[in-house]
């Protein structure tokens, strides 16, 4: 067996996010679809957690409930023990399709959140400048999103929630629409940002390699109805080397967990 161990429940600190007995059903006319069933999850401060699973496993739904864009049908979803009732600046979402404001420049997109708090202009410029520097877009301050590449847009999206003082970064397949080279670069940059800011990150992906490269913990979800199947802690040392034996062993283990459920479903 590789460096995978079942997550021990030894955390004495209050978790940043805690989800218990979460259920989510959608009603479409007469039919109801159960998207999530009895989901329990607890995320500690500074953890990098990947939610992984095939499409339809509810991983994005879970993320959107954490963001406050959707509500739970039953169960509790708390941040520092307080129920999440809607979107808020402390939970910053990074969408796969960026969702930047196309009429604002890079600088103004990043300053959008702070601007809502009516900070003075000088402070806004300072914040935007700081985060543009962090994501390496200082030279593109006056560009509009339409003039940027996909990778640059996603950098703006990350800087936008960082500038708004988010504590939890919720990322919904953020690099899924990017080419391989850009994706690798952004993964490295995200790790650097994470190490620098010690943010808590929940990262949805369907790429096993990405999950193993990035996270402290991989939460494996399965469909029909969506639920958490495995919750594994990775003990691989950082920085991780994707060609190392340990890395590949871990990747193989997680792939097996994912595919065993897919095969079971196919056989059923």
């Amino acid at each position: 067996m590789s460096d995978i161990t079942k997550t021990p429940d030894l955390n004495r600190t209050l978790p940043v996010l805690s989800v218990s007995h979460l259920e989510k059903t959608y009603r479409m006319g007469e039919r109801t679809t159960q998207a999530l069933h009895d989901v329990n999850l607890s995320v500690n401060k500074g953890e990098f957690v990947c939610l992984i699973g095939a499409s339809g496993c509810g991983k994005s739904t879970l993320l959107r409930i954490l963001a406050g864009f959707e509500t739970a049908s039953s169960g509790t979803v708390n941040m520092y023990g307080m129920p999440i009732t809607g979107p808020g600046p402390e939970r910053g979402m990074v969408f796969q399709d960026f969702a930047l404001f196309p009429w604002l420049t890079v600088r103004d997109n990043i300053a959008f959140g702070p601007h809502q708090r009516s900070l003075p202009k000088a402070k806004l410029d300072e914040l935007a400048g700081y985060y543009m520097d962090m994501v390496g877009l200082t030279k593109f301050a006056d560009f509009y999103p339409g003039q940027l590449s996909g990778g640059m847009k996603q950098r703006v999206a990350i800087a936008r929630v960082l500038a708004n003082d988010c504590e939890v970064l919720l990322m919904d397949e953020p690099f899924g629409a990017l080419d391989a080279l850009t994706r690798e670069k952004l993964q490295q940059d995200l790790l650097e940002i994470w190490e620098r800011t010690r943010l808590t990150i929940i990262f949805v992906t369907h790429a096993v390699e990405e999950a193993v490269l990035l996270s402290d913990r991989v939460v494996v979800m399965t469909a029909g109805p969506g639920r958490i199947e495995e919750d594994v802690t990775l003990t691989l040392a950082r920085p991780r080397n994707i060609v190392s034996i340990e890395f590949n062993q871990t990747r193989a283990d997680i792939t097996r967990m994912l595919s065993s459920h897919v095969y079971m479903k196919a056989a059923a």
């Binding site: 406050g68 864009f69 808020g88 979402m93 196309p102 009429w103 339409g146 929630v161 708004n164």
Partner: protein, 264 residues
């Protein structure tokens, strides 16, 4: 992409067709020997006299500026009123379900009624005079403005609202900071369409009940069997509509700098 041809070449290409049409017009009148349609040269003389006088010295000599100004003020009174009502109403219809359900069916029911069919009622409501014409212009510009604004709001990517909510933008500032700019391309499109209709309807509106204005001039030309006056009036309206549309295009391109696909 092909390299753009030189400027003079573009201009030459653009004026070629009008020149051919004018030549065809001249030849057509000469061949048929009609008295009902003047040759282009006569229209040119009429236009000169209409603007500067000194040729015919009749009621229409040197009166272009008066008629143009009258029509111009009516067009923009109606157009700005339509924008002032249409844009906020469109934003509300697009964004607030209760208002949409209350107002939209009525608008959809009224829309198929040709605006020109409102002329008799308009004259009853607003009396014989310029206000009836302004009302027609208002109505003609209002529909495209309100419907395009609504469409613009409805087609804003839902993700943008989520992003805004997550960043702490809600309530009235959401309208100003997200709804309005996101639907601006459609709003400007509606304004441009409405502006075109405004210049069309001013002619209909001025055909009865007013003494001055380009529509009234065209109608007088018909009564007096002065086709050259009719055509001169048509040309002035065409040029005025075109020139003011260019202003709107400039405004459009300036406000939509961020969106290359919406630049005209």
């Amino acid at each position: 992409m092909k390299a753009a041809s030189p400027r003079w070449q573009q201009v030459l290409t653009a004026v070629a067709l009008p020149l051919i049409l004018i030549a065809g017009w001249h030849v057509g009148v000469r061949i048929t020997g009609t008295r009902l349609i003047p040759v282009p040269w006569d229209v040119g003389l009429m236009l000169y006299d209409f603007a500067f006088g000194g040729i015919y010295d009749d009621a229409y000599s040197k009166s272009l500026h008066i008629h143009l100004w009258k029509s111009f003020t009516r067009v923009y009174a109606g157009f700005f009123a339509a924008a002032l009502v249409g844009i906020p109403l469109g934003l509300l219809i697009g964004r607030i379900k209760a208002i949409r359900e209350f107002v939209d069916p009525t608008l959809q029911l009224l829309r198929p009624v040709p605006v020109t069919a409102w002329l008799p009622l308009s004259m009853i409501f607003f009396g014989i005079g310029p206000n009836a014409a302004i009302f027609l212009v208002f109505l003609g510009a209002f529909y495209p403005i309100v419907f395009n604004t609504t469409f613009g709001v409805r087609s804003v990517d839902a993700r943008l609202f989520e992003a805004a909510a997550m960043l702490g933008c809600k309530g009235p500032s959401l309208f100003r900071q997200v709804v309005l700019p996101a639907s601006l391309p459609s709003i400007l499109n509606g304004l441009r369409l409405g502006h075109g209709f405004a210049w069309i309807l001013i002619v209909v509106g001025e055909m009865t009940g007013v003494q001055q204005g380009l529509g009234a001039t065209i109608m007088d030309g018909r009564m007096l069997s002065r086709s050259e006056l009719v055509i001169a009036g048509m040309l002035v309206i065409g040029v005025a509509g075109f020139a003011t549309d260019r202003v709107l295009v400039m405004l459009n391109n300036r406000l939509l700098q961020w969106s290359p696909q919406h630049r005209v």
